[in-house]
Symmetry: C2
Subunit: 130 residues, 2 copies
DNA sequence: TAACAAGCCGTTATATTATAACATTTTTAT
DNA sequence: ATAAAAATGTTATAATATAACGGCTTGTTA
């Protein structure tokens, strides 16, 4: 069991905001939120985000340029991510389905190539919005 | 069989450039290329891109903010896209695998929710780069 | 055929997202 | 204690994308 990573001050501040949020957050909205904690520049936020992504503590929703906390307990899974995204309310949920992840992790294309990483984004209407 | 869509002048110009390209193109690189054809402003490019995306003639590679021509003959498939992306040379290939698309199109999450659209990006090293 | 709607075009300005470059400080490992 | 690695702070700027405005063309349709 790997030692829980200790986050630096800025990383911790940024992570807490993302973790508490109800939905994906954009970098400049995070910046706005953390200004009271002494983080002033975009780069400080982006650096924290980069590190948190690398650690798997957060994920980037590419279609939205926004960030969510990883909800898989002890996530090491930067390499196999799947999300459901509501096209109306923008709610994002991380999909944690072992059949799906097994299927995709084992997927080989027509040339026999196997991949080391994937990201999948599903779109539709969530329960509430339907 | 739906009538082949007729593209407007700007749409045609932008599409040809993307189609001829060897890899994904970014919007401002397209802008640079089309300036000799009289397209001067980013918005002109983005409008053409939006329309081409809507028509399924091109796809956006979200992780790169770049655009590729659809290689599935008669693509209507804006709604179910999968790509392989080489992390070294940045080569992008559209994956056309009916097993995969059937699997994903039928996928339901733990709440029983079915999705109307997905986009999947695989990452790894292509043949050449391995 | 007038007139209306829909789509496309061109332009300027500006919003949003992200990184470069540089100097310094803190933490970690030896 | 010291060297290497990681994190910080700051200013400036690059890269990506949209808002707002007005006009032109084309194809209904009344």
């Amino acid at each position: 069991m790997p030692q829980a990573q200790i986050l630096s001050k800025n990383q911790q501040v940024v992570f807490e905001i993302i973790e508490k949020a109800k939905g994906p957050l954009k970098a400049y909205s995070i910046l706005y939120d953390v200004q009271k904690k002494g983080i002033r520049a975009p780069l400080q936020v982006y650096r924290a985000l980069d590190k948190l992504l690398e650690l798997g503590k957060i994920h980037k929703i590419e279609s939205k340029n926004a960030f969510v906390a990883c909800k898989n307990s002890n996530c090491e899974i930067t390499k196999a991510t799947a999300f459901s995204i509501c096209e109306k309310c923008e709610k994002v949920t991380e999909i944690n389905n072992s059949k799906l992840s097994n299927y995709l992790s084992a997927f080989k294309d027509s040339t026999g190539m196997k991949y080391s990483k994937y990201n999948l984004e599903f779109f539709g209407l969530c329960k509430k919005c339907k």
